[in-house]
Structure formats: structure tokens, C-alpha cells
Symmetry: C2
Subunit: 249 residues, 2 copies
DNA sequence: CGACGGTTTGAGTCCGGTCAATTGTCGTGG
DNA sequence: CCACGACAATTGACCGGACTCAAACCGTCG
């Protein structure tokens, strides 16, 4: 089961394909991530089958256990992917943003749920369509494999975080990973937008809301970050944050 | 970066390819996992490039950060894959056994290290060879994609464990996952072999050696498991273990 | 303005970590 | 065969970082 941040791709992987023009004009430029791997005129079949969809903030549009009939391309907004335990404990396994793929599974049913954080625009494709497409365009398959490979490396990094890092190191790692992502999309990396709540962040980092909040204040008091309005975080001392995140005590 | 337990594959995925005879006769039957995806006569090229290798227990044969020049097929023995922090904290991201693939990366360098737990027999291939092969045999690529997809689902399950489960739930989940694996290879699922140390188990589950040990004794006292000789664990009350692992309190 | 959801802060608790000592296991060699 | 050493596992006493429970605070929106 793949729920992947296409944007996590390094620049070198599949860049030639991504650089090519694409025909998915009604999706934003970011959907080049999926469309770039196949030729424009061949995209017709996929385009014909796709359906655009709006999801309101807070709505769960993909449920763990349900039949995996479609896969999605996030066009705009922020999404959280999570798993639940019977007593309500939640682990968020990833945040997805514009350009990311979701639900690309080779299982019969989804192994996680997905909920819109902000209002979200998504592009939905039937899974069967994708499989037929993969047969015809091996380039796309190679690209997906590279993406999955990168996702797996990111997952292992997250295991390191969840298994061994302190609360301070987790928050520092989290803020920095968002900063790096922003940089790849032209941001200056000096400040980050946090569209998700403290509870979401906590459930992603394996801590509680209270601890997340306390650590943010602690990092602010130490002068590493500044908490601006509307969920923006300014990285005042990025070098120290990097050291903290990496575990240099 | 892929380090994957091929044996984690569900029966349905790529079964037709796996069922076919293969030419990798000097690797054990389990290496069918990788060889099964391409035709026997076409395997010659890979076979010519491969090199068998013996690794002694305790030896680290793959180092995080080194150039990713090869990928490996574990033929026999047990391997741990891990990441280290500067101060020595360790997170084991997976245990690999006979038939599993390792080091299938699309990055320039490995993002983790691998150490032999027992004496290990591995089959080493140059990465370039693989990439050429993928071009010619899309079936193999599809198979790898399915494998990666499954690995990703397993990684998310592990995130749930590391982020939200109690020590008891972690140990129960761990023992059960090994039991399920043993069942897939013809075991009766009533008892499991643990080739790794308590410290390895702890570093895999995000706890300490002492806690791992305490929980094992606790589960024994409750009558859920029995600790036999030579690292064997008997699952005395599997149903309760399943409930514990899933988080029904 | 008041209601509501999210955030912050405080006080007290506890699970799992730390430190330390003991016991068990196994291979080696006298 | 047993003594020895090295390492793994267990057990105990204590500690502390993160959790729990609870209250106050804040921004937004009807």
C-alpha cells in the first residue's frame, strides 16, 4: 500500500520524464509528478477516467479496511493519513500535500484512513485504469518504484524518530522536514506553515498534545524558533535545530 | 531505498511468476522470490554477475552512507537492518531472513546499515545489472513495486507500534509477526524461534533490553507464552496475545 | 458578546528508563 | 569433565521524561 509524498523525490530521479510537458491541464502544475512519466497524448485514457473531487476540512474520504478501488492525486490542500487502534489511539503515518499520491495499493483494501486537514481538491482515478496503464508505460512503473523506494527510506527515518528520539528531537525533526519540503517548492526555508493542529503533530510524532505544546514553547524560550500568527513557525536558529534533530546533545 | 522482506508478500501477488521454475539453482529454493519474476534462460546475465558470500555472525557487511553499488539476496541466516544516532542510540528497522532482498536502492548511497545476526549466506548482485534487467523484464519491475508496496504497509504498521503501543503490546505484536512468518513457511505457528538478542528486539521495538526482558517474564507469568531453550518461544495463549497486540485492553 | 475548538500551562502520577548487581548460557581449553 | 571467561538475560531499586487530569487562555466566528 502506497501513500506517498511525490514531492519527497530527489531532483535526479526521473527528472527527464518530469521535465516533459504534460496534458493534465486541469490539475495544477504539481500533478506533473504523476502525469510526467507518460506521454501527453497517452494520458487521454487516464484523463477520461479521472474525476475531480472536493473534500471539506475534517472529512475522512478514505477509510481503512474499505475496498481499494481508487487512487488519488492531491491537487490542493493538506491531508493526514492515519491508523487507529480499537480504543482510539491514533498514529498519523504521514501528511500529504499538493502533488502527492495516495492509495496506490496492490492490496485489496486500504490499510489506513485519510482525512482532509484543510479544504482539499483531489483527482481520483480507478485503480484498474492504472494497472492497465502500467502495462503500457514501463517508464511510469519505474518512476513509481523510485517513489516507493524513497518513501521507504523516509519511513525508516520516521521509525528512528518514533523509536529513539526525545520529544524535543521529534519536534525539531518535524519542523525541519517541513522546512526542507518548503525549500524544494521555492520557499526560503526560514519559516514554515503548519496547517495541522498540535494534536495532529503529536499523533504524527508519537507524543501527546500537551507535550507537543510544551516543547514548542520550550524551543521558543531557547530562541530556536518563533511562533508567528496563523500557524507559521520561524526558524530562528536553524543550525542548532539541525543538531538537535540529529541527536547531537 | 528498499530493504524488504520478500517473504512478507501475500500469496496472491505475483504468484504466477513465482510459481514458474527458476534457474538460480545454487541459491536455495527461497531465492525464487527474486528469480521467479523473470524467465529462467534470461537469468543468465544476472547469474553471471552474482557472487556468493559468507558473512560471520556479528559482522556489519553494509554501512549507512556508503555508495550503494550492490544489492543482496539473503540465502540463509538472519540479518538486522538498522540506523544509528551520533550518541549510539540505535533503531533496528527490520529483520531479514532467507529469501529477503536487501539494498535495492534508487539512491546513491545506503541509508542504513546491515549486520549478520547468525552466520549468513548472501548472494550479491551489482546494481547496474539490475537496472538493465528491469528495462528488459517489466514483470520483475511490477513484482518489485508490489513488494515495495507491501513493505510500506508493514512500515506503517511498525510506526503505529513505535508511536502508540505499550511495551506489552509491542512484544506481543513482535512475537506474533514472527509466528505468522513461520506459518507462511510451513511452521505450525505454535512456537517461534528468536535468533536475535533481547537488545536487538528492544532496539527494534523502541524499548530497552531490561524492559523487553521484564515483559517477556511478565507474559510468561500470565501464562500467555512459555520460554523454551535456545531462544524458542511457545505461544500458549495465542488468542489473548492477538488481543493484546491489537490493543484491546 | 458568548460559544467553541484549539492551545497553553500547571500539578501530580506512572510507565519505562537508568544504574547496578546477579544469574544463566555457551564455547574454549586445561 | 570441569573451570573459566565473555556475553546475554534477568532482577532489583530508583529516577525522570512524558502522560494524565484539569484549568485557564486565546482566536475565530456566528
Amino acid at each position: 500500500m502506497l501513500a506517498m509524498a511525490l514531492s519527497e523525490m530527489p531532483r535526479n530521479a526521473g527528472s527527464s520524464a518530469a521535465a516533459r510537458a504534460h496534458a493534465c491541464e486541469s490539475c495544477t502544475a504539481r500533478s506533473i509528478s504523476i502525469c510526467g512519466a507518460i506521454r501527453a497524448e497517452d494520458l487521454g485514457r487516464l484523463a477520461a477516467a479521472r474525476a475531480h473531487q472536493h473534500v471539506a476540512a475534517g472529512e475522512t474520504f478514505l477509510h481503512e479496511g474499505e475496498a481499494a478501488t481508487h487512487f488519488f492525486n492531491i491537487i490542493d490542500g493538506a491531508v493526514k493519513v492515519f491508523k487507529l487502534m480499537p480504543d482510539g489511539r491514533r498514529q498519523i503515518t504521514g501528511f500529504l500535500f499538493a502533488g502527492d499520491l495516495l492509495g496506490l495499493a496492490f492490496n485489496d483494501s486500504y490499510t489506513y484512513s485519510a482525512e482532509a486537514i484543510t479544504s482539499v481538491k483531489i483527482c481520483r482515478f480507478p485503480r484498474r485504469q492504472l494497472e492497465r496503464l502500467l502495462d503500457e508505460f514501463p517508464k511510469m512503473e519505474r518512476r513509481l518504484l523510485a517513489i516507493a523506494s524513497n518513501e521507504l527510506a523516509a519511513a525508516q527515518e520516521q521509525m528512528m524518530l518514533l523509536g529513539r528520539k526525545t520529544a524535543h528531537e521529534r519536534i525539531a525533526s518535524f519542523v525541519l522536514s517541513l522546512a526542507r519540503r518548503a525549500e524544494r517548492f521555492g520557499g526560503d526555508g526560514r519559516s514554515v506553515q503548519l496547517p495541522m493542529t498540535r494534536t495532529d503533530i503529536a499523533d504524527y510524532l508519537g507524543i501527546t498534545t500537551e507535550t507537543a505544546s510544551r516543547v514548542f514553547t520550550s524551543l521558543k524560550k531557547r530562541g530556536y524558533i518563533e511562533l508567528e500568527a496563523a500557524g507559521r513557525v520561524h526558524l530562528a536558529d536553524r543550525d542548532t535545530l539541525e543538531e538537535l534533530a540529529a541527536g547531537f546533545e
